[in-house]
Symmetry: C2
Subunit: 245 residues, 2 copies
């Protein structure tokens, strides 16, 4: 069978997340599977690199599926572009070796979190950024982020719903970039626990708002206590940026 790899962008605003669900077809995975099943006349199941939560966006989600279809990858991309809703766009399709697995073979991921930091909400960015009206202390946030970079036990930074056996992950880098009143936080790591990026951002925001000292972040990591870290930052600011293999 052929193994086909998709790269996908989506605006998560309207959807109940990535993962197929029984009670609704308003998930990214269902929308794509339905179009692919129609396209191939096969029952297609796609494997995503990982789930994204309700309201989370993607600029470079990766998924793969097996098929006996004889269509070329460019015919597939045109078909998907025509039949998928406008808020889900498959930007690249390539045929990969049969054992390629979007989730198991992912070596690292990058997420970007976008914050709109100005007194009033920007009406055009209300679904695509988190709005913080108080001026953030970016230097303090950068200082705090240095404690998170590296290999750590991230028990304090994962949602209690997480079922992973080991909570040890490596964060390669955290870049905090100011573009006028838009602040972007790019987190690159070898893997992420449930809600980990949003809790990292929520904690950095506490530091940026002056509610927490940058040095506290080190203590939070060592404590392995979720209650000490900041709240989960809203989904609408988060984008899965890239999956590396």
């Amino acid at each position: 069978m052929r193994n086909i790899k998709l790269t996908i962008q989506y605006d998560g605003s309207r959807y109940s997340g990535w993962q197929r669900l029984g009670h609704t077809d308003m998930t990214i995975q269902s929308k794509i599977e339905n179009v692919l099943s129609k396209m191939t006349s096969e029952k297609i199941e796609i494997i995503g690199s990982g789930r994204t939560d309700v309201g989370v966006h993607a600029l470079g989600q990766v998924a793969n599926f097996k098929t006996n279809s004889k269509m070329t990858t460019s015919e597939m991309i045109e078909y998907l572009y025509k039949y998928l809703p406008q808020d889900i766009v498959v930007t690249n399709i390539e045929e990969v070796e049969e054992r390629f697995h979007s989730r198991y073979n992912a070596s690292s991921k990058k997420y970007i979190y976008k914050i709109y930091n100005d007194i009033y909400l920007n009406p055009f960015l209300r679904k695509y950024t988190t709005h913080i009206s108080e001026k953030l202390d970016i230097d303090a946030m950068k200082k705090a982020s240095l404690f998170i970079i590296g290999e750590h036990d991230f028990t304090s930074f994962r949602s209690s719903k997480s079922k992973k056996k080991s909570n040890i992950r490596t964060i390669y880098s955290i870049d905090i970039i100011e573009k006028g009143n838009l602040i972007e936080i790019i987190v690159h790591g070898n893997g992420f626990l449930y809600n980990m990026v949003r809790i990292i951002v929520g904690t950095l925001l506490e530091v940026g708002l002056g509610n927490m000292e940058p040095e506290n972040v080190n203590y939070i990591l060592l404590s392995k206590d979720r209650k000490l870290a900041g709240p989960i930052a809203p989904a609408k600011g988060l984008y899965l940026l890239e999956v590396e293999y």
Copy 2:
């Protein structure tokens, strides 16, 4: 009575345009009037600098209203921010002299039109740009725009629904700016006929797509024949950028 001037940003996607209508309250004017009437306990009518059509956005619409309210302008701005929907944001309020009139006193206006020029649609910009998949010839569009700048009879560039007596307007400048695959067209003029910006853009797009020579635009202007100009460009790419007094 006090005369209050508002500067307003809105995402026009959900609305039936600026102008109050009998059969729906989903217009920008109604939404603002309803909140202002509640705020002042008076029946407020606002005067906009001009209408914007269904789906058109604004970054700097201006409106004014008369009131006997004793609230400060900062109290007003906070009240509006709290009670208006998130896609309408009043960014500035000032008290102006009693004879100031948002429409009659406007000396010039700037509009910006945003085009996303790449093979596939960008899911995040689908409501905020017009998508053109064929590569546009920007140099040809710039050449064509030079014929439009200046004082002209814009009969060829106004919708037949236009009821204005004179079709003579002055366009001060047209700037066409490429930012990667985003193309912005900024049109500055002393006044605009019905659908005039969208027909100017529709015509420039015909030139950019190679369906029309830049020199044709001069002939279209002289012909005073709407049928010779390009189609009306979609509303979702258009923003009222600034009103000058």
